[in-house]
Structure formats: C-alpha cells, structure tokens
Amino acid sequence: MPVLWLILIVLALAVAGFIAGRARAISGAGDDRRALHSLPNYYGWNVAMKAMVPAFLALVIWLIAQPFIVNTKATSLLPETAIPEGSTLGLVMSDVRRVADGLDLAVEQGLLGASEAADLTVTGSDIRATLGSAGVAVGSEISPEILAAAQSYRSSNATGNLLRSLVVIGLALVGGALALAQTKPDFRARNAVERGIRAILVGAASLAILTTIGIVLSLVFNTIEFFRIYPASEFFGSFTWSPSFGGGSQLGIWPLLWGTLYISLIALLVSVPIGLFAAVYLSEYAGPKFRSVAKPALELLAGIPTIVYGLFALLTVGPLLLSVFGRDGLGWMQAGTAVMTAGLVMGIMLIPFVSSLSDDIINAVPQSLRDGSYGLGATKSETIKQVILPAALPGIVGAILLAASRAIGETMIVVLGAGAAARLSLNPFDAMTTVTAKIVSQLTGDADFASPEALVAFALGMTLFVMTLGLNVFALYIVRKYREQYD
C-alpha cells in the first residue's frame, strides 16, 4: 500500500475518532455539556490525537528503518565473488536495487505476471530486455547472485510494506479505541490534549538539535570514510591539490585554504571600511529623512541572491578588471576569474552586513557618553573616534568576525568568479579556488561516491563547518565578554 494511502487512511481514522469521541462525551454526559470536565471538542481532539500521533511516529520510524534492514538482508546474500574487480559493494547494491525496482515496474505495467517475476532465472529469459521495456536500464549483464539478491530485496520489501500498513493502521485503531474508552464526562480531556500539544511543540523545537546532529553525523561519517582511504597527514600536510579521477590524486587542503582566506581578506578590505563609515554616518550624521532612504538602499544589496553576485563577478567585474589589468593593460591578469574579482564582489555583498550590524551597535552606545564628550568641547568626529568607536569596539569586532565567517562560507561568487585552479600564489590577479568551490566541483563531478575524490568534499565541508562555527562562537564570546554594560 503506498505511503500516501496509508497517511490518508490514518487521517480518516483520526477524523472519525474526533467525531466519535465528541459524540460519546456528549452522550455520556446526558446531553448536558456542563457535566463535562472539558469542552466537547477536547474529547474529540483527544481521540484524534491518540489515533494519529503514534501511527505517524511508527510510520516515520518504519520508513527510515526498513531500507536499512532490507539492504543488509540483500547484501548478506551477495558472496564476495559477486563483486567484480574494480567495483564496490555499493555499486553492486545499486544494481540490485535497480533490478528489483525494474521488476516491480514490469509487474505494474503488466509486462510480467507477479508469479512470473518471482520465478525468473538468468538463463530462462532476457531480463535486461524486459527491464528495458519497463523503462529501467541496467548497465551490465545480470548475474545469478544479483538476481537472487534482487528477489530477496523485493520479497522483503513486499513483506515490509505489508507489515508497515498493518502496524500503522493497527496502531491508529488501537490508539483511537483506547482513547475512546477513556472518554467519560469526568475525564480531563483538555489536560490530556494540552500535554500532547506540548510534546509536539517540544519535538518541533528539538528539530534544531536534530539538524545539527544530522550535519555533524553526515560530515563525520564521510570524513572518517575519506581518511580511511586517504591519509590524513597528506590531506593536512600536502601543498598540492590535483585530483585525478583515475586515481593517484594529491588532495592537500592548503591551496584551498589559502584561496579562501585570500578572497575573504580582500572582501573584508572592501566591506569593512565602507560598511563601517556608512554605519557611522547613518547613525551619527544623517538626518531621519536621509537615513530612511540610504539604509534600505544599502540593505537591498543584502537581499540580492548570491547567484546574482556570482554572475556579476563572472560577466561584468571580471571582464572589466581584465581590460585594466589584463594583457591589454598592465599585464598582471590572465583571465577574468581571479581572487580580485571574487573578493571585490564578495566585498560588495558584505557591505550591508557590516553596516547594519555596526549601525545597531553604534546606536546602542548611550547618548550620555556623546553628551559628555561634546560638553568637553570635542567635535563630532573626535567624539566618534575617541568615545563611541572604543565603546562599540567589541561589537564591531564581532560584526567583522561574523562577516568573515560569511565570506569563508560563501559559495556561488567563488564558484563563478574565482577560477578553478588551486594554487598558492600572492598575486591577487591570479585565479585561485576555495574550499566551498571545491566542495561543489568534487560532488557534482562524475566521481563515484566511494572514491577519495568525491569523499574529500566531506572533509572539506567539515573544515568549513569547524572554521565558521569557531568564528561565530568566538564572535559571540567577544561581544559578550567585552560588552560594556550600560543602563
């Protein structure tokens, strides 16, 4: 039974439970609502909730667990010899899955009878042709082992699905029936429902923790897998990055880190002075009218998606820089994609980030400090330089660190604007590449997921995650530790 039907059935049961629960409560109280502990609807909700929630929980758990169990069962049927030279278990298993899905499809389209599909032999019929006409292409000839595994995959999946439907509908029925049995006039239905809602709220809030755990797990497992086939000392010690999908790659992280930091540095050199001065002007000099125009205009820059900046770097800024610094000009630049291109555009992107954060911080400095400074005869700029900025410094440093973390994690601008060559060079007009750009290129290439060339992306992602997380935590720490407390 498809999952959608299952969901609809459970929902229908819940609706029925709601109606039944409500009716039972009212009739139990002898049509006198005042005899009920809670409003009648709460009795209905109580039944609906108890029918729905356990059933859906079971469904979710089942959906996650079943592929695991089915996979391990099918894998255990594959002998070592079924895995050809140069292939991996994962590849063979994906063949198995494809054959199994193809057979299911063929049965569905009426190309094969159900019993016929179960009794298939490798020699007896041309399975590839049958699968092909069902729209599933299988790359290599199907060996008996693969077919056996696929059949086991199919049968355990079928039993799994049947059991799933039974368990889920059963849970819904049992839960609803139990709740219905509870429904008596003095049953505290509202309290029960509210406890349930509260549990759902807690679950929703915990999703943030689950997401973090998911990120960490997906990074950690694949990174460990990577270091198992590629030495960590090479990854952190080598100064060359030259992946080759044929094997024998050198995957040193340093050229990528250098590119990332160089581009971020240029971006900060652009965005911090502009953003900071803009923030100072907006909060200290500008009148309300000017402010109400200039501030949203700057913040528009923050609302533009990064793909737009990427295209701007690739097609506008790159050629522009090339015409000045390229072969026709100063001769420093080989191609439009370079550290400078990406850095400049990223700097533009970060201006509103720095300016609005600093603006908030400068505005938080109490007026009495300014008044005191003016009273001593200081000019406005002297007040800003000697009183306000020192008072706001921790916040500003925090803002700059947050901007740096943004710059390090930025992807689209560097993918399109920075080039693809990994090199350690000091010339800002050279093409370089970054951690994020390489994550994209390693995972969107044709590499097999189990190869070090693809898995290295997870190690790079881990590095990126640790770096940005560290910067964020450090920024918050600085802001908290050095913030002056005014009241």
Binding site: A208, L219, I274, L301, P305, L315, S355, T411, T436, L464
Partner: protein
C-alpha cells in the same frame, strides 16, 4: 597676593570669537573630512547597487525579445502524409527530419522573392538561420491540424541564436569569422529580410513559460519548467517550515523553562542560522539522497534541504513577533480562566500572526534565491526540458530550480546563454521584489504597536 602682570615673553595669541586659530581650523577640517568619508562610503554602496542593477537590466532585458522569421511554409502532402488519409497516428511517423527541408525550402523561396543578391544556392544553405527547434514546432502544429496539409501556412519561426545575436548587437561580422554556425552571407540576407519586415523581434513568452533546451539551441531555452521546480520547492518549504518553525518558537517563547535543554536548543538555532548554506547542501546529500534514497534532483529534496536552512530564520522572526505581544494580553486571558495553551493559541498567536507571516515570506524569499545547496543535490546538470506531469511528479521527478537554471546557463559556453542568465535573474528578482513587497504591505497593514 600682588597684582603681578606677566610682561615678558611673546604676546599671547590673539584670538577672539570672530577669528579662528590654526588648531581649530585643523579640527574643523578634519571634522569635515570625516563626514565626507562617511558620505563617500554610503555613496560607494549606492553606486555598487546602481551598477549591479543596471548591469542586470541592460544585459538581461534582451532575453525578453526574440528574433522570429515569418515564413509561409508549404506543407507538402507527398512528404507529410503519403497515404493521404490525414490520420495523425500515421503522420506521426514522419520525424522532424522530414519537416526540416520543407521549412528550409520555404525560407529559400522567401529569400528569392525578396530579390536579395546572395551567393547561397538553395534551401540547405539557409538552414543556419533557423532554429533547430523549428521543425519540431511545425510538426507539432501539423499533427494538431492534420487537415491543413497541402496548404501554405504562415509560421513565426524562431531564428537561430546567431541571427538573434546579430539583431541584438551581440554577433557581428568580425566575431563570426571563426564561427562555423553562420557565415557573413547569412547576415547580409538577414539585413535584407529585416528591411522587408520578414525578420523581426518580438516579445518572447517562450522565455518565461518555456522549457530549457540543449546547449546548441540557446534561442529556445526558457525558464518555465524550472519556475515550476522552484514553486514545488517553495510549497514544500512553506508546508514544513511554517508549522515547525511556529511550533518551535511558541515552545521556546511561551513554555520553555530556563534550563540547559532550552539553552542548548537556543544555541543550536543561533548557530544554524550562521552555518554556510553549502553545508546544508552536504546535509541534504548525505541525509536525503545517500541515506533515505530519495530521488536525486527532485524538488522535494531541495524543499527539505531549504526547509532546514530557513527554519532558523523563521524561528528568529516568529519569536520576535511573539515577544512583541504584550504580557497584559496573556494575563487577561489567564485571568478569565483560560489555560496557558488556550491563552497562547487563542490570543497571543493570532496577534503575532502578521509578524510571523512577514518573517515567513522573507524566509521563503531567501530560500527562493539560494543556489549552493541545490548544486549538491543534483539540481544542476539536469536539463529541465519536460513539464512535470502532475502534482506528484512535480514533487518527485527530477527538475531544476530558478537559481540553479541560471547557474546552469551561466556555465554554458555559448554567450547567447549569458543573456538568458541575466534575463532569468530579472525574473528571479521580480519574484523576490514581489514577495518582499507583500511582506512590507502585510506589516504596514496589520502590525500593531502596543
């Protein structure tokens, strides 16, 4: 004490209220300079904005215009319907290869009628001027109108991207010297036909509603299918992120006790808000595709990934909206006997709703423009040429998304695609603008100040 007067040394500097001394001058000058730096910084920011927007508009506006050639095509019966019984099933056997010569010969006839002098000799020589998609378009039309075979029908046929580029100034006689897709003679012909109004530019609906095309047919590519992909992704995000985000915020703002668990959740949310989007792409790849075996490139996977990414944004803005509802509302509800849950759901939540919706729309806008995670879950490299068949396949079958499609175009070698990429950005920005305007209107209209 004596009335001693200082007599020796220099005269003290004479400065009164009306004369300004050098030091004050210096201080005032520095004040003025500082102010100018500030103005210059804002000016620089606004300048960048203007340059960016004008680059987008000037480069992208061309994508909304496309060059068409008006060709009366003679639908030769002997070629298209040999048996002559106008049975569409039978006529479908004639592939687009059967149609191409008809179109080319018809165009050649137009050329001859125009009286242009050209070294070209027959229909086969002008095929570079027509889009490769023309034959399919005519074939579709003929199969839909089988009884018109044998007549001469006027078609607006897409010109090839080189001809289109020539009319838009992207292609010139110098730039095609090495180009084997078109020759200078064709451009001479285009000049003549343009004078006569046969070749003309008009608004290109296909760009907005159409499907992506293969690398060599830039003139045919459109954003429509990937727009649907984005739509299905946004529906997923809205259906998941709004309820989950609101539930999480209600818990944290209204019910959560101050303990370590709550602290831990809050730290997690603020950290997730700062995690680079590409890391969410890695999560989506590992969790939804590698682990859960959801179909690659499917909008539902993109939607799930973007949901996780937008949740922190929505939680943060929802909490702010809940916080803005004054405690007196809660107290009043509790005072007349409502439970805490009732006070929250019946009174606080409705009052916070405008703020929540505003935050949600802004979160959605952010998700709509996000590209990096989509690259990792396979929404690029896939050529979105087919519209999804229904709602289900809309969620589950491979598709692209607007920003991913733009990225895909920007990566292609043909410069004709750059124009499409800029044009796509205009559409994307219009969507974002509309969403933000809705958010602003909502806020203006329903926001209450307490």
């Amino acid at each position: 004490m004596t009335d001693a007067t200082y007599t020796g040394g220099k005269e003290p500097a004479k400065h009164g209220l009306l004369t300004v001394d050098a030091r004050t001058k210096k201080r005032n000058a520095s004040e003025k300079r500082f102010r100018l730096y500030g103005l210059a910084a804002i000016g620089a920011g606004v300048f960048f904005l203007v340059v960016l927007l004008s680059a987008i508009i000037s480069n992208g506006i061309g994508a909304f215009q496309q060059t068409f050639i008006e060709v009366p095509v003679y639908l030769e019966e002997a070629k298209l319907d040999k048996t002559g019984n106008r049975d569409p099933a039978e006529m479908a056997k004639v592939s687009t290869f059967g149609y191409s010569p008809l179109i080319q010969n018809s165009l050649w006839k137009v050329v001859v009628d125009s009286g242009a002098e050209t070294p070209l000799e027959d229909g086969g020589d002008v095929k570079q001027m027509i889009s490769a998609s023309a034959a399919a378009k005519v074939r579709d039309w003929v199969l839909a109108n089988p009884d018109r075979v044998g007549e001469t029908v006027d078609f607006q046929i897409l010109a090839s991207s080189r001809v289109d580029g020539y009319l838009k100034g992207r292609v010139s006689r110098e730039s095609i010297a090495q180009d084997k897709n078109i020759d200078a003679e064709h451009l001479d012909l285009v000049d003549v036909l343009r004078e006569q109004g046969v070749v003309h530019k008009s608004f290109n609906w296909e760009f907005i509603t159409g499907a992506d095309a293969s690398e060599s047919r830039a003139e045919q590519a459109g954003l429509g299918v990937s727009m649907l992909g984005s739509l299905f992704m946004m529906i997923t995000v809205l259906l998941l992120a709004l309820p989950i985000g609101v539930a999480a915020s209600i818990y944290l703002e209204e019910f959560a006790p101050t303990n370590r668990f709550t602290d831990f959740i809050e730290v997690n949310i603020s950290n997730l808000a700062a995690v680079p989007s590409i890391v969410f792409g890695i999560l989506g790849l590992a969790a939804f595709i590698q682990f859960a075996h959801l179909p690659q490139s499917a909008p539902i996977v993109g939607g799930l990934t973007l949901t996780l990414m937008t949740l922190p944004t929505i939680v943060i803005s929802t909490r702010a909206a809940l916080k803005a509802v004054p405690p007196s509302i809660r107290d009043a509800a509790l005072g007349v006997g409502a439970s805490k849950m009732q006070a929250t759901f019946h009174h606080v939540l409705p009052l916070a709703m405008p703020g929540i919706l505003t935050g949600t729309i802004i979160g959605l806008a952010q998700a709509l423009g996000e590209t990096a995670p989509l690259l990792l879950i396979g929404m690029v490299g896939y050529i979105a040429t087919n519209y999804p068949e229904g709602v289900f396949s809309g969620f589950l079958s491979p598709n692209s998304a607007m920003p991913a499609q733009i990225y895909e175009w920007a990566k292609r070698a043909d410069p004709a695609y750059y124009e499409r990429a800029w044009g796509g950005i205009i559409i994307l920005l219009l969507f974002l603008l509309a969403m933000n305007l809705i958010a602003i209107v909502l806020r203006r209209k329903f926001e209450r100040r307490w």
